[in-house]
């Protein structure tokens, strides 16, 4: 079974703090994604990565950065947390291997971040 783990289920931070959200997958997937989920807005893509050290902006990258130094780990960084970044953050991964279900994503359990 594919397993995607996120470092914390719940996190409370203060405005201005630097926040790291970690995501690890154990299936050697090439692609990894960070989303945020807010009521009524669905999932919005923040950043994604299709290879080690490669990253691409999603729909809402402002205020965030990412790091992918190893294939299995994709980190989301809030350089200076703000209250409007209070949200549920979801990490996902997928493979490009031939024969795999095209673009099927496997999700972690999510991190609910509160910025005070």
């Amino acid at each position: 079974d594919v397993k995607v783990t996120q470092s914390s289920r719940y996190l409370v931070k203060r405005t201005g703090e630097k926040v790291f959200l970690e995501c690890v997958q154990d299936m050697d997937h090439e692609n990894m994604f960070w989303y945020r989920q807010d009521p009524g807005l669905g999932l919005r893509l923040i950043y994604f990565s299709y290879d080690v050290k490669m990253k691409e902006k999603g729909d809402i990258p402002e205020g965030y950065s990412v790091s992918r130094e190893k294939k299995e780990r994709f980190s989301l960084i809030l350089e200076s947390a703000s209250t409007n970044q209070t949200s549920m953050y979801l990490c996902a991964s997928s493979t490009r291997l031939a024969g795999a279900t095209y673009n099927e994503q496997f999700f972690g359990p999510g991190t609910r971040l509160t910025v005070l």
């Binding site: 669905g42 999932l43 893509l45 994604f48 729909d59 490009r96 095209y102 359990p109």
Partner: protein
């Protein structure tokens, strides 16, 4: 940008009834997928339908795709209380295979009353 729009936003039915959710999208796609999310958890893949398919079944799930109308529907038959969750459609655009990028709809919240 979110290209998937789902309808209805919320649905409440009795156990045993069927639940139908609809999804519309804007661009040409390679495939369309449906995911389920239990409250406060991550999403789980349910079913995928390719652009050259019109209907697909998996257990109590039936998915249809109409590429001319750029729409899809998910039917859950004989619903159970355990089907209570949010359901999302997601589209994979042509050429997105290298990045694996999906575009998710806003979701339909289904409540099945026992």
């Amino acid at each position: 940008s979110q290209q998937g729009e789902e309808d209805p936003q919320a649905l409440s039915i009795q156990e045993g009834e069927n639940a139908t959710m609809n999804c519309s999208y804007k661009t040409s796609i390679n495939n369309l997928q449906w995911y389920r999310q239990n409250s406060g958890r991550g999403l789980v893949h349910l079913i995928l339908i390719r652009s050259n398919e019109r209907e697909k079944h998996s257990g109590r799930l039936r998915v249809t795709l109409d590429t001319s109308k750029k729409s899809s529907s998910l039917l859950i038959t004989a619903s159970r209380a355990a089907d209570t969750a949010s359901y999302f459609c997601a589209t994979a655009a042509f050429g997105s295979g290298n990045t694996g990028k999906l575009i998710f709809g806003q979701g339909t919240t289904l409540q099945v009353k026992p």
